[in-house]
């Protein structure tokens, strides 16, 4: 876990900025990993279960974007 601890020499400004950056990284990763899974043929319920969110939530957040990106989402 040592690698995930905030650098002890960093002050609160760095720690809080790290929180912002990690949120942004998580958002970016969610977009690209959901896209990767759907391109690999995963279903919405599978992706939802893997992310520990509801099927409705993951569909609402990503369906329109994936269709625009040219991912075939029929029969998922």
């Amino acid at each position: 876990m040592a690698a995930l601890e905030i650098d002890a020499t960093a002050g609160p400004a760095d720690g809080l900025a790290a929180v912002v950056a990690l949120r942004r990284l998580a958002d970016l990763m969610e977009d690209s990993e959901v896209e990767r899974a759907m391109r690999a043929g995963w279903s919405w319920p599978q992706v939802a279960e893997a992310l520990s969110v509801t099927r409705q939530a993951v569909h609402k957040k990503h369906a329109q974007r994936l269709i625009a990106a040219g991912v075939d989402l029929r029969r998922r």
């Binding site: 760095d14 990763m29 329109q64 990106a69």
Partner: protein, 158 residues
Amino acid sequence: MVTRLAPDARSLIATAEREARTTRSPYVEAEHLLLAMSAAPSTDAGQVLASVGLNHEAVEQALELEFEASLAAAGVTVRGDGPVRAGPGPTRRLRLSASFKAALERSVAASSGSRQIRPAHLLLGVLGAQAGTVPRALRLAGVDQAELATLTRQALAG
């Protein structure tokens, strides 16, 4: 408030939303307004930014550096060409972040006594932030935030 926006200031806000979309952010943040201004050299704000070397590429680099430095504080490293750079962002209208709204409020306050809110007022609003991404990115770019605000006020006065 909306009716007092000068046309070029209004257009900067629209550009900020496009910048947010391009960087795949779910919110329009203060830094997207800074990116928009740095890409508008015909505006007073863009000229002030250019005078300290902050063109669009320089602001992009500063923000990227800030992102990487902040992640590094948590022990996380991201490769520049990593999988996080996927296809297009959301097509829906983006929401405005707290940092963007705070910058706008400060811009309105800075423009009191002026007929319209000009791009330089927007820049003053962005530069009024005490903490967060913009102050950190400016520091990493070697830009003195207070001095930049002074230059902006001078541009408005001149």
